[in-house]
């Protein structure tokens, strides 16, 4: 049951926040280097020495949203794969069902942590 509601919640997050952020990113690439730099300065890191309060907030918010989207991506991927298996009629025995529900949630958190450790290791 928890996995089911997480599937919906992560899917809605990806569908609205994820898709809009992706379109914003595409638009910034197409517009040119200045627009792209402004996009990066807004959601990731503003290199300006006199960084505005607005960008200080959006730099933190952007990272929170990106980590959230990473989790939503893995959670939705893994619980979606679980749904595809359940569609075949397999995995409804109580013990099996409970085991894979737990595995799906753990794998989502683990993959998110692994991804961001990899990103931060590259940034250092």
């Amino acid at each position: 049951m928890a996995v089911s509601i997480l599937h919906r919640a992560s899917g809605d997050g990806l569908a609205i926040v994820g898709a809009c952020l992706f379109l914003w990113w595409l638009g910034a690439i197409a517009t040119g280097p200045e627009a792209y730099a402004a996009f990066v300065a807004c959601i990731w890191h503003d290199p300006s020495p006199e960084i505005t309060l607005f960008h200080q907030i959006t730099n933190i918010l952007g990272k929170v949203v990106l980590i959230g989207l990473t989790w939503a991506f893995f959670q939705h991927l893994f619980s979606g794969l679980r749904h595809l298996v359940l569609d075949t009629g397999a995995g409804y025995e109580l013990k099996t069902n409970k085991l894979w529900s737990t595995v799906v949630i753990a794998a989502g958190v683990f993959a998110t942590a692994a991804t961001w450790l990899y990103i931060m290791a590259g940034a250092l």
């Binding site: 569908a15 898709a19 379109l23 638009g27 280097p33 730099a37 990731w44 569609d87 991804t115």
Partner: protein, 133 residues
């Protein structure tokens, strides 16, 4: 059609007949998403995302542009189906119709913007001199 009661309005009409199609399309686009969003995810991890030139070189590769366009189609189709179920579960009465209309605007408009932008990136002249286009 009956006397206007909830049951009377639907009695004899049968199901809309689109349920299994919706179900199947949700799964087929899910398979497309695994491949195509997986490709985007690996690319995002490997790209130097702060470097506009590097991202542009990646996005102008014809195979990348093709994969991105396919991804936009698969993702926006999938999210339209998923958000439709969300609306049908939680939005009732006349608001439901409005919500479904807005959903179609979002899904089709977003996909069109995405595809057009990818094409614009891929087909833009490499060197845009002053006054040239």
């Amino acid at each position: 059609m009956g006397d206007g009661s909830h049951l009377g309005k639907v009695r004899g009409l049968g199901s809309s007949g689109h349920g299994s199609q919706h179900w199947l399309q949700q799964r087929l686009t899910a398979l497309g998403n695994i491949l195509l969003v997986g490709f985007l995810f690996v690319s995002l991890i490997r790209l130097p995302l702060g470097d506009h030139g590097a991202v542009l070189r990646w996005a102008t590769n014809p195979m990348v542009a093709l994969a991105l366009i396919l991804m936009v189609v698969s993702v926006f189709w999938h999210l339209r189906l998923g958000l439709q179920v969300l609306i049908e579960d939680y939005v009732h009465g006349p608001m439901r119709l409005l919500a479904l209309v807005l959903l179609n605007f979002y899904a089709i408009g977003g996909a069109a913007y995405g595809i057009f932008t990818i094409a614009r990136i891929a087909l833009a002249p490499v060197v845009a001199g002053p006054g040239g286009m």
